[in-house]
């Protein structure tokens, strides 16, 4: 069913997943600001309204609370809404509908009502978006009981995970790292951008396939240390590991909740060392959860303390974003520190 492959960047892969799901399942509807005729500010839904019609793919008022709340109602009717929030930074006005309503519908009604909704949203920094277009709020959602949280790192995974998310019967937050959506963002001498662009297009099956939620991807197998990461950072980590020539075991977590704890445990018990890398701010970030988990489950196998490489605990600064971003130097320093012990 997967059919031939085609070279796609992440946006194209997401578009393909949405197209296939609209085709296969008449209950799937897409909605969001500017997603209809125009195809979304990042073009993720380009062409889908023309192909599937206005009642399947439509623009919404600028009301994130309305978008997500209406999604809950549509899901309660029996549809599978896939709302887009234009930037993850703008999910907050819809937060109550997500946290108090979507996440708990199944629980509070003992299964009378469910919420098979997938909220897609571009997230993360590195595109000069300033402090209101760059946030990585994933840990807000992993802290909520009843929402699944996904972050793909490449076009192939993005498509397979998105299809699985739409077919899932629980509410899902699908965060798309916009830094690796389209292509290189070049022109600035002091930004380590070039190597990342290599990962932006890959061979993706044109047809239907799923990647099971809750399973980490193995980016690279190694013995020296385990690196747990996801999203854009997968590419930065790979670059650093290659440059350092270190035999790291790199896991791309893909689904933050539910988490592939078996893969983590297996890897850390094997390497005895663990580094966690994410773009989001440090304090109470998802890295803290990962570090605690590793400590609980692998303590007697650890040969060095678990380290975290993260964004700093400040909002994302527009002009200094490349100094804020957890780049190669920050990661390399942490690896050196872990390997010393």
């Amino acid at each position: 069913m997967m059919g031939d492959t085609k070279t796609m960047n992440m946006i194209e892969a997401i578009n393909s997943a949405l197209d296939i799901m609209l085709e296969r399942d008449p209950d799937v509807v897409l909605m969001g600001e500017d997603i209809g005729y125009f195809g979304g500010v990042f073009r993720a839904t380009a062409g889908l309204q023309a192909k599937h019609g206005k009642t399947r793919v439509f623009d919404t008022p600028i009301s994130e609370c309305g978008i997500i709340g209406a999604g809950v109602g549509m899901a309660a009717y029996g549809l599978r809404p896939v709302p887009e929030i234009q930037f993850a930074d703008y999910i907050y006005p819809g937060l109550d509908q997500l946290v108090s309503e979507a996440a708990r519908l199944r629980y509070r009604s003992a299964g009378d009502f469910i919420c098979p909704m997938t909220v897609r949203s571009p997230f993360g920094g590195g595109i000069f978006g300033g402090q209101t277009h760059s946030q990585s709020p994933e840990s807000l959602f992993t802290h909520v009981c009843g929402i699944k949280t996904i972050v793909p790192s490449n076009p192939y995974d993005a498509k397979g995970l998105l299809i699985a998310a739409i077919e899932d019967n629980d509410p899902v937050i699908f965060f798309e790292p916009k830094r690796i959506y389209n292509g290189p963002f070049s022109g600035y001498y002091d930004r380590p951008v070039e190597p990342w662009s290599k990962h932006e297009a890959s061979a993706v099956p044109e047809g239907y396939y799923r990647i099971e939620l809750g399973k980490a991807g193995v980016v690279r197998e190694g013995e020296a240390l385990t690196i747990l990461t996801y999203g854009t950072m997968v590419h930065v980590v790979q670059m650093v590991v290659a440059e350092m020539g270190i035999d790291a075991d790199i896991l791309d977590l893909r689904t933050l909740l539910p988490l592939d704890v078996e893969a983590i445990e297996r890897s850390v018990k094997n390497t005895g060392r663990c580094l966690v890398v994410h773009e989001a701010t440090r304090t109470s970030g998802f890295g803290a959860e990962l570090a605690a988990l590793v400590q609980e489950r692998c303590f007697y196998h650890l040969e060095a303390p678990v380290e975290r490489v993260t964004g700093f605990d400040t909002p994302y600064p527009h002009s200094l974003e490349w100094a804020y971003f957890p780049g190669p130097v920050r990661i390399a320093s942490a690896i050196e520190k872990i390997m010393k012990d």
């Binding site: 008022p61 600028i62 609370c65 006005p93 000069f128 300033g130 002009s319 100094a323 320093s333």
Partner: protein, 427 residues
């Protein structure tokens, strides 16, 4: 899984669609443009319930022959009119220059206000200079009218070494308390309840200052908008709530914000707020409406809600391509014309201005912004090294820097040493 009863007609979902798309010939002949003075100017102390029809008309002062007429005519003198024209032309010159700077890669982003200059310039002129403004991102005309240094605006746009916001904000998201101009948020409509709160505070302290807030018609869908309306009404706050209806919210036409059903001005009626609908491309009508609302607020007659009916002549921002979703030449066909052009023609009609003076002023302003741009660029452009010192990134998160930020700052400095060599020092 449908609950269809055998002989009932099926329900249908309505999805609003704009009348014209790319390739279509735009035609606005159905847009009602009532004559000047079709609605008379009521007393400032009128009760909202007595003036509900103002939410459905269109306050106009300049007629099709560029004469100022009717009871809304603010009767400004020639110097005031010339200064209004100059402020609007300056805004346009500034926009053109900065748009080009973005295209030349000198900054990441820019947003023009072309065609909407009256809604910021004329409103600012109708307020007292210390009335507090809570703008959205398309009201640069307020700052230019209030005399904020142009070079400071440019420094902000370039996020350079002299940017007073320390390179943190997206270009155009200014902050200027010295001009009573609130810091701009990227999150839409958040300024609406804040403006109401400021006005409530001013009233509770027995101050004489009022506040004014701007948002786009698309943003009226946000919950914050509706919370603000409720608070403004409940506390009879001295606030002027304005909607710049420029027809488009990125690619979504005003129907997606509810504009098919009624006017945006009419949204004020349900809250019991005095509401006006105004020709937003008529600078004198905009001035008059704002003046009326300001007088109401200052005399404890409460909030006013104003819709400016206008048109977004350019793209939403430098990241946008309006050719992908709307008919070309819409702005040229816009029945309410261009605010700069209308005021120019009015002044010429009065014998207080000429085409030659206009051209000379156009060139003078273009030269002024060009010269100022050079001055700003001497302080750096985005991504070319002359930025804020790295450690400023950690300032202002809190009043005093906690231990964890100090630690992270030291880490960042160490990273810069590793990147640029041990002799590197933060500037």
């Amino acid at each position: 899984m449908t609950g269809k009863k055998s002989n009932l007609a099926p329900l249908r979902l309505h999805i609003p669609e704009p009348k014209f798309r790319p390739g279509d010939e735009a035609d606005f002949s159905d847009v009602a443009v009532p004559p000047v003075d079709s609605i008379a100017r009521p007393d400032e102390a009128s009760l909202p319930a007595d003036i509900q029809s103002l939410a459905f008309g269109l306050v106009r002062v300049l007629d099709d022959d560029h004469q100022a007429k009717g009871s809304w005519n603010p009767n400004l003198d020639a110097d005031q009119l010339r200064s209004m024209l100059r402020n609007m032309m300056l805004t346009r010159a500034f926009d053109d220059r900065m748009f080009r700077a973005q295209r030349q890669g000198k900054t990441s982003f820019y947003m023009k206000s072309t065609g909407e200059e009256a809604t910021s310039v004329a409103t600012a002129m109708a307020l007292a200079s210390d009335d507090m403004c809570f703008p959205s991102y398309r009201q640069q005309g307020i700052l230019l009218t209030r005399g904020y240094p142009i070079v400071r605006m440019m420094n902000q746009i370039y996020s350079n070494s002299q940017d007073h916001l320390k390179g943190r904000q997206l270009p155009i998201m200014y902050s200027a308390p010295e001009c009573s101009f609130f810091t701009i948020s990227g999150n839409l409509a958040t300024q609406y309840p804040q403006a109401v709160g400021w006005a409530m505070a001013s009233a509770s302290r027995g101050d004489t200052r009022i506040s004014a807030v701007w948002c786009g018609e698309g943003s009226t869908a946000e919950g914050d908008f509706h919370s603000a309306m409720t608070f403004a009404a409940v506390y009879n706050a001295p606030v002027i709530l304005q909607v710049v209806n420029n027809q488009w919210a990125i690619s979504s036409f005003s129907g997606i914000a509810g504009g098919e059903r009624t006017t945006f001005a009419a949204r004020g009626l349900g809250y019991g707020i005095a509401s006006l609908r105004v020709d937003g491309n008529d600078p004198l009508a905009v001035y008059a409406a704002m003046r009326w609302a300001a007088d109401r607020a200052r005399t404890n007659n409460g909030p006013t809600f104003i819709e400016y009916f206008t048109y977004r002549a350019e793209g939403h921002s430098t990241s946008d391509d309006p050719g992908a979703y709307r008919a070309a030449q819409e702005f040229e066909k816009w029945p309410l014309g261009d605010p700069v052009d209308r005021l120019k023609k009015h002044l010429i009609l009065l014998g207080e201005w000429s085409e030659e003076q206009h051209q000379a002023q156009h060139d003078e302003l273009a030269e002024l912004v060009k010269k100022t741009q050079k001055e700003a660029e001497a302080n750096g452009i985005l991504g070319h090294g002359m930025h804020q010192p790295f450690e400023t990134m950690f300032e202002d998160v809190f009043e005093e820097m906690p231990w964890h930020l100090k630690e992270q700052c030291a880490q960042m400095i160490d990273e810069q040493h590793r990147k640029f060599g041990p002799e590197w020092e933060p500037k």
